[in-house]
Amino acid sequence: MEQYEPERLTPPQAAALRRGLRGGRAALTRRSLLRAATGGALAAGGLGTLAACGIPAAGKNQGGTSAQDHSATEKVVNFSNWTEYLDVDDSGKHHPTLETFRGRTGITVDYTEDINDNNEFFGKIKPQLAAGQDTGRDLIVLTDWLAARMIRLGWVQKLDPSHLPHAYTNLSAQFRDPDWDPGRAYSYPWQGISTVIAFNKKALDGIEVRSVSDLLDNPRLKGRVGFLSEMRDSVGMTLLDMGKDPARFTDDDYDAAIARLQKAVDKGQIRRFTGNDYTSDLSKGDFAACIAWAGDVVQLTSDNPHIDFVIPDSGYVTSTDNLCVPNKARHKTNAERLIDFYYEPAQAAALAAYINYVTPVDGVKPYLAKIDRDAADNPLIVPDKAMQAKSHAFRSLSQKEETAYEGKFAKLTGA
C-alpha cells in the first residue's frame, strides 16, 4: 500500500518523489494515463467513425458467390459438422466412411466438429460471408431454418446436379421439396430430426403422457415438464396439438400457440426451456417428460431403461440438418462429391448405424440390417409409412416473421 503522503516524508524522499513526478508533460501518473487513453479512444472513435461502421446489406457481395474451384489441384475438402455426428471407430480417431471416400477418390476430408449451435455458428461465419470472403469451409451442416436463411441471404452456392447422381436418385420423398429450397438446388439433408415426447417412467410414476396437452395441462406434472429452446420444435409441437399444421399456419395461430405455452409457464407447469442439456434432466428424473429429439432418445433408451418416447396422435415435427456449400468455398466440386458419396445406401447405412438419426436416403434398410438389425427396424431411424404420415415440417419464415416470432418466443422463455 504505497501511498503518496508528502507530509511524512524526509527531505531526501521528498526530493526523490519530486524527481519522479517532475518534468511536466513527461510525468506519468495513473490518472493522466487514463485521461490520455480515454481522450485517444474518443478521438479515434469520433462520431464520424460511429456513423461509418454500419453493416452492409447481405446478398450484395462483391464479385459474386463462387470462388475459383481448386478441386482438381487440391485434393481436399474442409467439412465442418456438429459434434458426434459422424461414424467413428473404437479408437475415436478414424472415421471409416471418410476413409472409404479417400480410398475411392483420393480426396482427403479435413473434418472439424466446430458446430455446436446454429445461432452461434451463424454469428461466427457471418462476418466473412457478409464481406464476401472465404470462410475456409467447403461444406457445412445447418438446420433447415438456418439453411433457409442462408439461401435467402445468398450466402450458399447452387449445387451442380451433374455431380450428385446418387443424391438425386436416393433422396427420400419426404425431404425432396421443402418450401425454402424446392427441388434441393442449394442443399441436401445430412440427417432428419424427429421431435417427439420423451419421458422417464420412474419419474412419471404411472402418469400417462400421450400428447402435448398432457404436458401442458396435467397438474401432477407441475414443474417437471421440459420444452426446447428451439422455437420451431416447441411451437410446432404445440401447433400440431391445437390441430394446426406447422407447414401452413397464420400469425394468429402462432400467437394462440404462444399464449397456450405462456399459460403453462405462468402456472409453473414448464420447468425450463433447454437446449441439448435436457438429456441430463430427463435421465436424472428432474424432467418427468419433455419435448425431445428422437436421435437423443434412441441413445438415452439404450443407457437408461426408464426412458421411453411417444409420438403424439396429432403428429410430430420433422426438421433436417442440411449440407451446404458456403460462398467462396475453394473446393466446391470435392464437396459435392462428398455429398453424393453419403447418398449411396451402403454409406448412409454405415452412418445411420452409428448416429441414430433419421436417414434421408432411400434403400438403406437392407444395408443397415446387415450392420444392426434393431436399428433397421427402429422407426425413429428408418421411418415406416405410419411414421412418415405423421411427420410435419415447420414452414419457412420471411425475415420479418422470423424476427417477430423469435421475439415473441424469447419473451415467453423469459428474455
Binding site: M1, G54, A57, R224, T403, A415
Partner: protein, 309 residues
C-alpha cells in the same frame, strides 16, 4: 503502511545534486506502454466504438444496418427489460453478500490460523478453477437434483417450505429457482472474494493484534476496530470482483434457472444470437455497463478507499 517510512535512508547532507535526466529515458515509459495500449485499443476501444455505433443503427440482415442515431432503442430496451436488470442486480448483490459471509472467515482462517495447512487450503480454494466454468455449473445440477440427497434433506428439515414462502424456491425443488441461481453465482465467484481478502488480511502485522490485546480489547473488539478496517481494501476489491462479473453472468441463470430467473446477460445473448436484434443487444450492453460503472463509483466513494483498489 509504506515501505518508505519504515526504512528511512540515513539523514545528513543531501546526496549530490541530481544529474539532468538522460534524454533517451524520457520516452521509455511510453514505449513500454505501447503493447498494452495497442491491446486496449484493438480489443477494447475499437469494439466499444463498434458497439456504440450498432446501438444507434436501424435495419435488418437483408437490408443492412445504417446509423440513424435512433437513440429510442435505449429507452425501448430499458422499458422492456428493466425487470431483468433489476433481477441481475439483486442476484449479484445477494451472491456478493453470501460470498463475503462465506469467504471472510475462510480467508481469516488461512491468513492467521492455518499454519502449515495454509498452502493446502489455498490450493483447495483455487482448485475448482482447473475445471471449466460450465462443468462446475453443471455439477450443481447433479448436486441439487430433485431426487438428490441435498433436496431430500432440505425437504425433511422443512427448509424449502420457508424458502418457498419467501419466493426463493418453487414447490419441493431447488433447481430452476432463484435460490439455485444465487447459489451457483456464489459458488462460481467465491474464489474472487477469498483471494483479495486473504491478500489484505495476510499483510496485517500480527503485533497489532497483540497491541490491541494489551490495550484490553476483547477479540471481537480487536476484530471490529483493527482487523476489519485494515482488511477494507480486500473487502472492496473482493466485492467488486464478485459483483461485476456476477451481474453480467448468464451461464448460471441459463443452466440452473427457469423462465422467471433470466438475467440481463441472457437477454443480451438472446437478442444478439436468436432474435438478431443487434441494436437492442448493443444498447442493453451499454446500459449494463453504465449501470455497473455508476454503482461501483458510488460504492467506492462511500467506502472511501479510492486509493486502495
Amino acid at each position: 503502511m509504506s515501505t518508505l517510512t519504515e526504512a528511512p535512508p540515513p539523514l545528513g547532507p543531501a546526496a549530490p545534486e541530481e544529474k539532468p535526466p538522460r534524454r533517451r529515458g524520457r520516452f521509455t515509459p511510453y514505449w513500454l506502454l505501447l503493447p498494452g495500449m495497442l491491446w486496449l485499443i484493438v480489443f477494447f476501444a475499437l469494439p466499444m466504438v463498434y458497439q456504440a455505433s450498432t446501438s444507434v443503427q436501424q435495419g435488418s440482415l437483408e437490408q443492412g444496418y445504417k446509423v440513424t442515431w435512433h437513440f429510442a432503442t435505449y429507452w425501448d430496451a430499458l422499458n422492456a427489460y428493466w425487470p431483468q436488470f433489476l433481477r441481475s442486480v439483486c442476484y449479484a448483490a445477494a451472491a456478493t453478500v453470501l460470498c463475503l459471509l462465506l469467504g471472510y472467515p475462510l480467508a481469516y482462517l488461512i491468513a492467521f490460523r492455518a499454519g502449515r495447512w495454509r498452502n493446502l487450503i489455498m490450493i483447495l480454494v483455487i482448485a475448482p478453477f482447473f475445471t471449466s466454468f460450465l462443468i462446475r455449473t453443471l455439477a450443481w445440477k447433479t448436486i441439487l437434483a430433485d431426487n438428490g440427497p441435498v433436496v431430500h434433506a432440505l425437504n425433511t428439515l422443512h427448509v424449502l417450505d420457508l424458502t418457498g414462502w419467501l419466493g426463493w424456491t418453487a414447490g419441493d425443488r431447488v433447481l430452476a429457482t432463484p435460490l439455485a441461481v444465487v447459489c451457483g453465482l456464489t459458488y462460481n465467484f467465491l474464489p474472487f472474494m477469498i483471494l483479495p481478502l486473504y491478500t489484505s488480511l495476510e499483510r496485517i502485522d500480527g503485533r497489532l493484534h497483540e497491541a490491541a490485546g494489551d490495550l484490553y480489547a476483547r477479540p471481537w473488539t480487536t476484530f471490529r476496530k483493527v482487523t476489519f478496517p485494515l482488511s477494507m481494501p480486500g473487502v472492496v476489491s473482493g466485492t467488486l470482483l464478485t459483483f461485476i462479473p456476477a451481474a453480467g453472468d448468464y451461464v448460471n441463470a441459463e443452466l440452473l434457472g427457469s423462465t422467471d430467473t433470466r438475467m440481463i446477460g441472457n437477454v443480451i445473448q438472446t437478442q444478439f444470437l436468436r432474435v438478431l436484434d443487434y441494436p437492442t443487444a448493443a444498447a442493453l450492453s451499454f446500459i449494463l455497463m453504465a449501470a455497473i460503472l455508476a454503482m461501483v463509483t458510488l460504492y467506492i466513494r462511500r467506502s472511501g478507499t479510492e486509493d486502495l483498489v
